[in-house]
């Protein structure tokens, strides 16, 4: 019979206990990045589309060549900054499942970070929702983890395969409960 126990991932986080092992790491489905990626691409090509017709814009032609060059670089760097910010946000907004607890790292905007954690033994109820064309097409949705007492409930947003995440968390929680 094959070993069904989850394998630890080579991931470390700052609040990890000495013998704690990370079993799963989930993040938002990559498709959720499409809106900002499309916007970034459009913003990047806007100057190059309009530059051949720049003579028609009196504001632009009234600027010196140095100013035009600096403004173009400023635009490109600002758009790249927007892209970097969104990429970092997607990469570090994770939901970790260890052998002892679950951790959810959320970012509101870019400069505010919210870390919610719940012990597996305190998990009371897990549910998930999946709806809408994109969520059904790309198989992602939200998972809600209800915990006992005053501990903050955890909401894992737009995670891939929410049914599987739901199953993993309930299985691990029931194993801890015995």
């Amino acid at each position: 019979m094959a070993d069904q126990s989850p394998k630890p991932l080579p991931i470390q986080f700052i609040a990890q206990n000495p013998n704690e092992q990370v079993y799963y790491l989930f993040r938002r489905n990559f498709v959720t990045n499409l809106p900002w990626m499309v916007l970034m691409f459009m913003l990047l090509i806007i100057p190059f589309v309009f530059l051949p017709y720049s003579e028609q814009f009196s504001f632009w032609t009234s600027l010196s060549e140095e100013m035009q060059f600096i403004l173009l670089l400023l635009w490109i760097l600002a758009v790249c900054g927007y892209g970097l910010m969104n990429l970092v946000r997607w990469y570090f907004e994770v939901f970790l499942v260890t052998d002892k607890r679950v951790l959810d790292i959320d970012m509101v905007g870019f400069l505010y970070r919210n870390v919610a954690e719940a012990q597996l033994k305190s998990i009371q109820d897990v549910s998930h929702t999946q709806g809408g064309v994109f969520q059904l097409l790309f198989n992602f949705g939200n998972v809600y983890i209800q915990t006992a007492g005053t501990v903050q409930n955890i909401e894992v947003k737009e995670v891939s395969n929410p049914g599987l995440v739901h199953d993993i968390v309930t299985d691990l929680a029931s194993q801890i409960d015995g």
């Binding site: 470390q12 700052i14 140095e66 100013m67 670089l73 400023l74 900054g81 970097l84």
Partner: protein
């Protein structure tokens, strides 16, 4: 007082306008300065997040953040020189 007029000097000629760049250049430099401050915050946030969750990709993102700060600072220096 007479010498002052003979040399064609008047208080109207003493102005900071010649020393400071004009308004539009100042606005551009200020916007780049704001972007530089923002880039520092982005880089710092990436460093903190990388400390929180250690992964290989995280260190690449950290390098990208540092490079971004370098790029924006270079633009700031370039704008001060060129404008």
């Amino acid at each position: 007082m007479d010498n002052f007029h003979i040399l064609n000097l008047s208080w109207e000629n003493f102005s900071l306008a010649g020393l400071l760049p004009n308004a539009e250049k100042m606005v551009v430099i200020l916007v780049i300065l704001l972007l530089a401050v923002f880039s520092l915050l982005v880089a710092k946030q990436i460093i903190l997040l990388d400390q929180f969750l250690k992964t290989k990709m995280g260190s690449y993102l950290k390098a990208a953040g540092v490079f971004y700060v370098f790029a924006v600072t270079s633009l700031l220096i370039l704008s001060i020189i060129l404008l």
